[in-house]
């Protein structure tokens, strides 16, 4: 059953050829069989999943079902889920059972998508390899020596290994697209404000954006339809008319102007990855698209800007984890200061602490102008680059990450080299633009994604471009042999 496309699953569910209970049980069985080794789930919720599957079957029988009713989903452990541990893969929240649903979770509950469990991630979404999880690293299903990427590494791994048909992720600096690239799946980060952040544990609020992680672009379009939409509980949620993200699937790419930024193919890009990406662009050209050269001259300012702004916001967002009201509290605190210091020192991991310190420093008196304000200026320059580039093209194509998945442990001692894993994705978050990672080939046994970025609100176009590419390629349908 896990080899079916979502469209096929949906048709069979609606036709009564399979039930949601059968489908959900199938995935739960696969999780039992494979996840001990893979470590992609932080929590598995079989009782919740089966209860929801039964309800979904009733809904299907009543004829009032949606396209995705009955199709199970795995939520990244950053989405608060009522009655379920929501840890953000941190010791700090290892004991935190959310008393409410994130907007995304409640949207998918309404549709009737059984929740299989919560997926592993970098602690508080800070990382590019899922190695900073309190629960240990998730393995890349294509090669167990390799990382799945991050921070939504667990979500990418469960899709790649067939341990969930669909998953949710969040992308602050590339956390959907980079693991999608590393695991050979499709993942889209929508325009900032498209999906409500209500109930998503905040990392860097002005960047955080949720999106779908699935096998195909079509699947992503369907899931995004269920996730997106205005939510008055998030002041940065965009008030727009409802969008059908699948509306343009099937349109021809004839005349599409594809911008290829020279800066995205320079130093630091793995030659084999470059070859895969160039082949993919050539494939899109064959579909009638026209390649034009564009420039993003300030690309190199993006990583430094991001690593001031995101930690600055994080340093404030994570202040609430103080051991007073919820989460981890140290044993026998001497006094208030001891309570704060030890609860946070013991409850938060090294990378999280590093970013809190960097962020607090950047905001501190005497440094604010030199770091925070300067970084804001760079952010505008990066955004303006894109605005200018989109004057001469419809979408931009390039690599998602400079390399294929690296090995577990390879970069854990070198944070700055880890940060460069998001070199191509971060500019998109700085600008708040939508971007998608589409499976485009392999370097040895490790997948490589094609990055497609568009102007604000161009998701339907991006999804169609990816969909058209997936009509003439089969990278997105491939599965690692041992999980087939």
């Amino acid at each position: 059953m896990h080899n079916l496309t979502i469209k096929q699953m949906s048709e069979k569910l609606h036709a009564g050829e399979i039930t949601s209970v059968q489908l959900t049980q199938h995935y739960l069985d696969r999780i039992s069989k494979y996840d001990t080794e893979l470590n992609a789930y932080v929590s598995v919720t079989p009782e919740l999943a089966m209860m929801m599957a039964e309800q979904a079957d009733k809904k299907l029988a009543s004829g009032e079902a949606d396209l995705l009713t009955g199709i199970p989903v795995a939520h990244k452990d950053i989405f608060c889920t009522d009655g379920v541990k929501t840890s953000c893969s941190s010791k700090m929240l290892d004991n935190f059972i959310a008393p409410y649903d994130a907007h995304v979770v409640s949207q998918l509950k309404k549709v009737g998508m059984p929740i299989l469990g919560k997926t592993n991630m970098d602690e508080f979404a800070m990382g590019s390899s899922s190695e900073s999880s309190y629960y240990g690293p998730t393995k890349n299903p294509w090669n167990h020596q390799a990382v799945p990427g991050g921070s939504s590494g667990g979500a990418a791994a469960v899709i790649a290994a067939g341990l969930a048909p669909m998953a949710t992720g969040t992308d602050t600096g590339g956390s959907i697209r980079q693991p999608a690239s590393f695991c050979g799946i499709t993942g889209i980060k929508p325009t900032y404000g498209s999906v409500s952040r209500f109930g998503i544990v905040a990392y860097a609020s002005s960047f955080d954006q949720a999106g779908p992680m699935t096998r195909s672009a079509q699947d992503s379009a369907w899931l995004l339809n269920a996730m997106a939409g205005f939510d008055e509980r998030d002041s940065t949620s965009l008030q727009r008319e409802a969008v059908d993200y699948a509306a343009e699937l099937g349109q021809s790419l004839k005349g599409l102007k594809v911008g290829v930024p020279a800066e995205y193919f320079g130093e630091g890009l793995d030659a084999d990855v470059e070859a895969v990406v160039r082949d993919a662009i050539a494939e899109v050209e064959k579909l009638g698209a026209e390649v034009v050269e564009v420039h993003l001259p300030n690309k190199d300012l993006a990583v430094p800007s991001y690593y001031v702004l995101a930690p600055a916001e994080a340093s404030s967002n994570l202040s609430r984890f103080d051991g007073v009201r919820f989460g981890y509290r140290c044993e026998n605190p001497k006094d208030l200061e001891d309570l704060y210091k030890r609860s946070r020192s013991e409850g938060l991991g090294a990378e999280v602490k590093r970013r809190i310190m960097v962020g607090a420093y950047a905001l501190s008196a005497g440094y604010y102008d030199a770091y925070y304000l300067k970084a804001q200026k760079l952010r505008r320059m990066v955004r303006d680059d894109f605005t200018k580039a989109f004057e001469s093209c419809d979408v931009i194509m390039g690599p998602v990450a400079p390399t294929p998945a690296f090995n577990i442990g390879e970069k854990t001692d070198d944070p700055t080299s880890m940060y460069l894993a998001d070199l191509y994705t971060i500019p998109v978050n700085l600008a708040g633009l939508p971007g998608i990672s589409v499976p485009a080939g392999f370097v040895n046994d490790r997948p490589v994604g094609l990055h497609i970025v568009g102007p604000y609100f161009s998701e339907t176009k991006l999804l169609n471009v990816a969909h058209q590419y997936q009509q003439v390629t089969d990278w997105h349908t491939r599965m690692p042999a041992q999980y087939q």
Partner: protein
């Protein structure tokens, strides 16, 4: 050499909304701990603030009343610090772009007017409360107050005495209540005044200031500032140095005490809150709010003097609060002849006196404007005299009914029947032949004696005008 006193006030006015500034939880005072704290107020993971738009209009009203610049694009910032009653580890406030900019407020002390600059007024959320002693050996946290909307109004350091400081605070207190944006309740902490006090030699730069906090009456604010000025002068004159610190006022001993011994320079790491959009206020919105502004106390006072011919003192009493002014205007409206002087006299003496005696506010008054006007109407139509009216007023105050009911049940109706009054006059004159002789002999002051006797004989109910008229006629016979 003399000392110059420099005082600036920071006033926290709690805005009269139903719900918190960033959540839908109630802000009603006095609920059981933590029963009015929703996940947003508790700072739970993933929770986001949504601005309660009611605070914008209220803030703009104050800005207009202070003739201040209105922040066309005001921004919420995060003020970061750790404290157990601060759930998120930051207070959402406004830093660089407050909703109200530079303005001014005129005060008067001992007949001298002075304009005090208002630096700014910004919106922020209140913190919760730490509760000591409820659980042995532990500190409890009550987050009911967390997220309550506050407008922090910061004055320029233009105040140069405790009296001026209190005059400014009182004026602001009156203003926010007139505007209906704050209930002004100091006991419940709806209106909190923090005073920054320093002294210097004239012409020298500003001295080091001490901040006086948590004083919940104007009287104590004045005493605390006076003590603090004395303390600083004595300290400096004896060669000491003022330390920048927060001091609390001990009203029992009339002294201020240092609150913190370890004074740390806090770095709040302010930055714009990424969860909230800037608040944009259009010209149109400002015009709408301007059109809906109530008449302000100073304008009202001036109008009472100019249009009603009232004294400055009476106008001051009658505009002492918006409730008082509204009561007065309602009474005037309801009295038949719109006898403003009569209404004003009764409001400033009988009514205000009774309120003061009972320690009541206008809202708590046992009689309403209808009752008050009902009584005044009976004075105007000569049913009762001013003297009898005092009895009627007291009876109304004691809940014995309307003026008409009391006049009826107590038989207080004025005697206006000239036959009956003539009989009384005749009786008194007949009983006092020697006094009549004296009067006729030129002692005209005896007239008052006769009037007194006649009024006494009538039980106070004879119409004094008629008594005078008939008496004079009889005596000149």
């Amino acid at each position: 050499m003399s000392w110059e006193v420099v005082i600036g006030l920071e006033i926290h006015a709690q805005l009269t909304t139903n719900t918190k500034i960033f959540s839908g939880a109630s802000i009603a005072y006095g609920a059981q701990p933590n029963t009015q704290a929703c996940p947003i107020d508790v700072g739970m993971p993933g929770m986001l603030p949504v601005l309660n738009e009611a605070v914008i209009g209220k803030s703009v009203m104050l800005g207009l009343a202070l003739d201040a610049e209105i922040g066309r694009k005001s921004v919420f910032d995060r003020k970061n610090y750790f404290y157990p009653d601060l759930p998120k580890g930051y207070q959402t406030s406004q830093f660089n772009y407050p909703i109200v900019g530079k303005g001014k407020l005129e005060i008067e002390v001992d007949g001298v007017k002075k304009t005090i600059g208002v630096t700014r007024a910004h919106l922020e959320e209140d913190a919760g409360k730490s509760i000591h002693g409820a659980v042995a050996g532990q500190t409890g946290i009550d987050l009911n107050r967390a997220g309550t909307p506050l407008l922090e109004i910061v004055s320029d350091p233009d105040l140069s005495s405790a009296k001026e400081a209190v005059a400014y605070a009182r004026k602001m207190h009156e203003l926010v209540q007139y505007l209906g944006i704050c209930d002004g309740n100091m006991q419940e902490g709806s209106f909190r005044v923090d005073s920054n006090v320093s002294v210097r030699r004239p012409g020298e730069p500003l001295g080091t200031r001490a901040e006086l906090k948590n004083i919940n009456s104007f009287r104590f604010i004045e005493k605390a500032i006076e003590f603090e000025i004395e303390r600083q002068i004595e300290l400096l004159e004896s060669g000491g140095k003022v330390v920048q610190e927060t001091r609390l006022y001990d009203s029992e001993n009339d002294v201020t005490r240092s609150m913190r011994t370890k004074e740390e320079a806090n770095d709040y790491r302010y930055f714009p809150c990424p969860d909230l959009l800037p608040v944009v206020i259009t010209e149109e919105t400002i015009e709408q709010i301007n059109a809906s502004m109530p008449e302000l106390p100073d304008a009202k006072r001036a109008r009472y003097v100019a249009d009603f011919g009232l004294s400055d003192y009476d106008a001051g009493v009658l505009t002492g609060s918006r409730d008082m002014a509204e009561f007065f205007e309602s009474v005037v409206e309801k009295t038949a002849a719109k006898d403003i002087k009569l209404c004003a006299n009764w409001m400033t003496s009988g009514f205000s006196g009774a309120l003061n005696k009972g320690g009541l506010t206008v809202k708590q008054s046992p009689i309403d404007a209808d009752k008050m006007a009902g009584m005044l109407n009976r004075i105007i139509d000569n049913t009762i005299s001013g003297k009898i009216a005092k009895q009627v007023f007291d009876a109304m105050w004691n809940g014995e009914g309307s003026a008409d009911e009391i006049i009826e049940s107590k038989g207080l109706k004025q005697i206006t029947d000239s036959g009956a009054i003539e009989a009384l006059v005749d009786e008194v004159l007949a009983n006092n032949p020697s006094q009549v002789e004296a009067y006729k002999g030129g002692q005209e002051k005896m007239l008052g004696y006769f009037v007194g006797q006649i009024m006494k004989a009538s039980g106070g109910q004879a119409n004094p005008g008629q008594v005078n008229q008939i008496l004079k006629a009889k005596l000149s016979d």
